[in-house]
Assembly symmetry: C2
Homo-oligomer: 490 residues x 2
């Protein structure tokens, strides 16, 4: 006993000693009522200061593990854990329901693209942390903590942290949104926002109209909720309107899910004219719209188009889901929904039932960071960096990859369409052997198509490796094209 | 134009000017291609520095609102928002499903006890923020940011932040838990943890065995998932075992939900003997258990009992949901589930589909705070403060409130049972008129009972007001008892 105790690492020694003694007690090595060594004895035995032992004993007494009897010593006041024998074993997979299995199946982190350190990985569209503005974040945190630290650490409101909500409503106004009759809810990123909306919406037809391809996380969430995503083909400036009209005439949609700016994965920006037409048509069919506000700030060229929710004017049929995750700090999980006030009221109750509220600390940090004017400064730097990478990516794809088409007017990725006879997953395997990976585009398609497409995410690839990586992909694609043509000739 | 611009508050002036000009543009006051005033002109007109105007124009150009043409000036490059006319209006309440309505109905923040500033409110069991250790939190944040700030701000793992997961597994080991074959998932508090478990569990019987009364949030979540909570009456040392056996014989339970330590709302601690008996019986009936690890640290007297999951030894039928929310910082929304490794795997996928991951910043802050040894120090202070309030509450209730029984061996509340003929809600209304409110106990009952019970939460009531508040409640109760007896005599 005691011989194997070692205090190591940064955690205070008395804490480690306390944990060690707890283990001896729970394992029954020191049974109930056992008398512990005196503080002097233990200090000598372990070679730690007597103060450390005294502190450990005090902590143990405070949490009920030992009892100090004046004049007599310290005694174990807790029995070893009684164990239930024989142990109850459950086969959990027999107890789970369809949601558990479906979410595991569709979990791309588990079943997605594997790659190793050193590879050139065009798989991510997460921000490059070398751009993160650490001092701005620290200052924002300290500023806010100084003002109202105690408020931040206690329970907050489900709807959100008030200053951030005001800031974001103002931000949305700046995008041209008519905010009368609307309200805002802070969520844990786009993911929770979309999940709450789909939980709230009643299933009548069970069908959701969307672009094809579209954001794979959105497809996952739609399926987990038992909705069928019905996709409409994209072209250079938005969805194909004829196909949209035909699809709408098929009838029966509970919702439309659209990403009009910097569409994931195509990077396409829906033109102002198409935005108006979309709203008109969906309005005629009385289909509510969920707009994925996917980062208009990362525009590299061309004019802005106002979000659908702004174009909708005083209308209330559009719910806008926003997030700074792709341009600011995705780790802090803060997003928002701006929509009809009544709808927000229900979403707020749902959110309270699920997660009570988004971390107030994170919301406050984000608010203070934005309020201090850091966003502008950060954007300036980020856009310059990302624009260089974007241009390398576009040049590299055009120069090296024989393709049918390429799209992407902003954001952190470009989307490439190869010859339709090619299979991006087979090409991926050959590229992987040469140290390059990318995201095969089929995961974004709602109809099992897109096997000949790839999404090239460049945000986290060092700029000097972008061309190299694309040249390798190009080489592999050329070989596959040659093989195809050879088969045709034969 | 421009005459109504005022820079006020802390946000940098150029940011405010930028927002102002954006609004002029979106509203069409400055149409597309309109030439803006020169920086010198606008500076003179507004009475702001020319640097401010230059910065604002640069920011506007960067984000595509204006275009600078060398030698000619700055021009609006964005059209006013085209508006969809006529606006599309949706009656959202006609589009929502049962979950939305049910969550709103059961939303206690919306339909709960109203009270005003200055009242003595025994309604909360949230921590007292005057105890919050601000400097410890600040140091923890800065320590962690210095070590790995960029990691914290980028996407994290759904399962959780590794150092915190390791710390908590160690913490659970210290409670006697056999961790082989088990794993941990970090969640947004108990609420998300319980919600994920109920999402994962397949509905066979649709019945969940629980204590009666029990945690009202748990009742809400069970109902939102379409489960029927079937409650078993509590007594001094846990559930009534005869009633439990009878209930089990009725057959068909998908899960058991139990809070063996510092039960909410009764504060009862289930004895070690009953814990073993519970596990044995539930094991015989092959019913998995969700254990609500409700804050064993807030014990004021009596010996600890090991959590059910520890008593279960190497068995895997217990999923433990833990949280520091009632004793540390509820605003940061960090909780955890320790359970069978396979089950955790599915819960992780579900979590990823819902919120991706819990805020890494919060997890890291909590980890560093615990690692620095602050928890022990904080606990020492908190327990002393809360124990004093607890003793005031117990004394006050015993001295002033004619009651059938009172329970509560720790935690931040006591539970009072009045004469069964009394109605706590009616008593509450009379107390409110005298400036005192409490939580009527019926919200915690699964069978519509408990109308004669009250939960007295004292954590946020100033110590000097506790006795006063209880005396007032006592006065009201005595009047109601008198009225009852009077009716009997007549």
């Amino acid at each position: 006993m005691f011989k194997d105790f070692r205090a190591e690492g940064e955690s205070p020694a008395y804490i480690q000693l306390k944990a060690y003694i707890e283990t001896l007690i729970t394992q029954g090595v020191m049974p109930l009522h056992h008398k512990l060594p005196s503080t002097r004895e233990l200090s000598g035995l372990l070679g730690v200061s007597r103060t450390t032992v005294i502190s450990a004993y005090e902590a143990l007494e405070r949490t009920g593990w030992i009892e100090a009897i004046k004049g007599r010593g310290n005694f174990v006041s807790r029995a070893a854990v009684h164990l239930n024998e024989p142990p109850s074993m459950i086969e959990w997979t027999e107890r789970l329901g369809p949601q558990a299995f479906l979410s595991e199946e569709m979990d791309l982190m588990k079943h997605g693209i594997k790659w190793e350190k050193g590879m050139i990985a065009f798989t991510s569209i997460a921000p490059d942390e070398r751009l993160f503005d650490m001092s701005g974040v620290k200052r924002a945190f300290l500023d806010r903590m100084a003002l109202e630290g105690d408020v931040l650490l206690n329970y907050g409101y489900a709807q959100g942290y008030r200053p951030l909500m005001r800031y974001l409503m103002s931000y949305m106004k700046g995008k041209g949104v008519e905010t009368t009759g609307k309200d805002i809810l802070i969520t844990n990123g786009f993911t929770e926002g979309f999940d709450l909306l789909l939980t709230a919406i009643g299933k009548r037809s069970g069908r959701i109209l969307c672009e094809n391809p579209t954001h794979q996380t959105a497809i996952k969430i739609m399926k987990l909720h038992g909705f069928e995503p019905v996709g409409v083909r994209m072209e250079r400036d938005g969805v194909n309107m004829d196909e949209l009209k035909r699809t709408l005439d098929e009838g029966g949609f509970d919702l439309a899910y659209l990403t009009p700016s910097y569409h994931n994965p195509t990077g396409i920006v829906t033109s102002p004219e198409k935005r108006m037409e979309l709203l008109r048509l969906l309005g005629e069919h009385e289909i509510p719209v969920v707009e994925d506000g996917f980062n208009e700030e990362l525009r590299y060229s061309g004019a802005h188009a106002a979000p659908l929710i702004a174009c909708a004017g005083t209308g209330n049929s559009v719910a806008y889901v926003g997030s700074f995750s792709k341009i600011l700090f995705p780790g802090i999980r803060v997003g928002w929904i701006v929509a009809d006030r009544k709808l927000i009221g229900y979403l707020e109750s749902l959110k309270r039932a699920r997660t009570i509220h988004t971390s107030t600390l994170d919301q406050a940090l984000l608010f203070q960071y934005l309020h201090n004017g850091n966003f502008e400064r950060y954007l300036k730097r980020a856009r310059t960096e990302y624009k260089r990478k974007y241009e390398s990516a576009v040049r590299g794809c055009a120069a090296h990859i024989p393709m049918k088409s390429m799209s992407g007017e902003g954001g952190l990725h470009v989307f490439v369409e190869l010859d339709e006879r090619l299979d991006a997953r087979v090409i991926l395997e050959d590229c992987r052997k040469l140290g390059v990976v990318f995201t095969p585009g089929d995961i974004f398609f709602t109809d099992g198509g897109g096997q000949h497409t790839l999404r090239i995410g460049f945000s986290r690839v060092p700029e000097e490796r972008i061309e190299e990586g694309l040249r390798i992909i190009g080489t592999v694609v050329k070989e596959h094209v040659k093989a195809l043509n050879h088969r045709i000739d034969v």
